[in-house]
Subunit: 341 residues, 2 copies
């Protein structure tokens, strides 16, 4: 996201054979431009590397000092923690934060990009977004700054993205369990395609290998990040002829599902089964027993995402478009050495 | 919040001895008006019942299709649940939701009202706000529609406010515990001055009286709504010479603190102590044992608050400015008959 020099609006207009006002309309998200004309203009702006001038932004374009946070679902403290970090920085900068939930991926449509432009948003922070190429192009083409937090897919090169050290987090969880003496350690991830899941499972495998433990594919499960995802996966793990003595869950919410599966099976934590979560949401310290988990600095990820976005908005050059914040293993009471056989 | 007919901007300007543009500046939150002039104009608008005309609103005033949600702290699923309800309605209405956390009550200053006006907000939803008279006047004077959710203080008459049936909730919790055979039932509230606390404790007392149980003031405690508020109050309750056999906590987060106090005392739930929470946040079903709690329809409160705000914005007449949504007792596994002595 470096500062480029590109053609002017007039040059784009001339090349497209339209009035400058038409180019301006497309740039500012007005809808009264024929689809074909819009496409031509956007294609040209994209090809020629058109850069929205700051002067025009401060002048004709309405500036409403708004920043957008787009989140997949507002249904967990997970997103809330990121939101608090973003809010803190945005408020300090004297801007206001518009929050919207995408609810499902389909909603991240062109209409959404248009509405951001129409209300004069300075830029957007996208949380756990499966940013399809089409949307990425839409945002880039309109030169609307954006930052991705915890990207689901590998974002295209040059896309500013903030995440956590998921590989190191998965490694530390499995390393901790192996050090306690566990030899059959299971892992539950989120959806198999999620970037964060891949990195965590890779870290888990690496730790097992370092500890000289075999990797048993039957002990690796995938599910949603919620309570039921953990419950279903753990139930199936506990029904194995040679069940694990430890389970590394993909999220704290999944870990609560693992707790329930263990309880339903008439087993205890950590007596029969050790459990490690991921995230360190506030309730992790209140579960019974308190949950050992990999702390993900969600609030700080929100802070860094917002600061990065504001730097882009201000035309600053980023040293790196990818930032991974460190995870930490927080050892509580849900992990212990395995029962001696 | 009925439709009033009042003086025009020109009449206010004439009476104040200023230009119409000065009145307009005050209305729209511009800061380049002398404090004394602003005061005079505001006082006149307030006294004469000046109503911001819809025409002017659609015309000269910038409309950005924004609605503001102002929340005390974004630190719990409690606020998140309200937020999801508000977001749903605001999004359906094609508006965008600006979210800000007040962090502390002092921030709800005039500058905040100015910034709402400056960005052309349609109105505001205030969650758990101690709306001081001064701020109430500021909002009313500028005719900026607002709705209060779960007001801390009794809002002034005519102020649209959405809440839950806290009295009935407190009643149902204590009634449930009394019906199980408990005779020493404690209650923990939030801050003693909070309206919701007062109503819940009143409901609890009424249920004890209906059940023919004495009200022991030593069994009524107050604390913050968080984990530590419940922990501190429960520890002190369990140290009483004649401790309670049941504790009705003021929130689910407080209940997790009660769980910890019971655990630290070497007691079990519900064997030694029955516990009832309040809210039914998502984690209530995952605590060990799952928490019996009074469900507060937080999402629905957000929905109703947003719908009410939009009705006011559209100039509709409200049948009632106060709406209380029903609470429900959700019985899980943290309550049981007391151990026979």
């Amino acid at each position: 996201m470096t500062i480029k020099t590109g053609p002017t609006m007039a040059e784009i207009a001339q090349e497209a054979g339209v009035a400058i006002s038409t180019v301006s309309k497309v740039l500012n998200g007005h809808t009264d431009v024929a689809a074909k004309t819009r496409e031509t203009i956007e294609k040209l702006m994209s090809e020629r590397g058109y850069q929205r001038p700051r002067a025009a932004k401060n002048g004709r374009r309405r500036r409403n000092d708004l920043v957008d946070l787009v989140i997949n679902e507002l249904d967990s403290v997970w997103g809330l923690s990121i939101l608090t970090g973003v809010e803190e920085v945005v408020e300090e900068a004297g801007l206001a934060l518009v929050v919207s939930a995408v609810h499902n991926r389909q909603s991240l449509t062109r209409r959404w990009v248009e509405s951001l432009l129409a209300r004069g948003s300075e830029g957007a922070i996208l949380v756990l977004s499966e940013l399809a190429e089409r949307q990425h192009d839409d945002l880039t083409r309109r030169n609307l700054p954006f930052v991705i937090v915890d990207a689901v897919n590998q974002p295209p090169p040059g896309t500013p993205a903030i995440g956590a050290t998921n590989f190191a987090g998965g490694y530390s969880a499995a390393e901790h369990l192996a050090a306690l003496g566990h030899r059959r350690i299971a892992a539950i991830g989120g959806h198999e395609q999620f970037q964060c899941t891949r990195a965590r499972i890779a870290g888990y495998r690496a730790a097992l290998e370092s500890a000289g433990l075999p990797v048993d594919r039957r002990l690796i499960r995938y599910g949603n990040f919620h309570h039921d995802g953990g419950l279903i996966a753990a139930q199936s793990l506990l029904e194995l002829p040679d069940p694990p003595t430890a389970i590394f869950a993909g999220s704290d919410q999944q870990a609560t599902g693992v707790y329930e599966a263990v309880r339903r099976a008439g087993l205890t934590i950590p007596g029969d089964i050790s459990v490690v979560g991921f995230d360190d949401l506030n309730f992790a310290q209140w579960t019974a027993p308190p949950l050992t988990t990999v702390r993900q600095p969600l609030h700080e990820m929100g802070v860094v995402a917002a600061r990065t976005l504001l730097r882009i908005v201000n035309g600053e050059r980023l040293e790196s478009t990818r930032i991974e914040l460190a995870t930490d293993l927080v050892v509580r009471e849900s992990t212990a050495p395995p029962r001696a056989h």
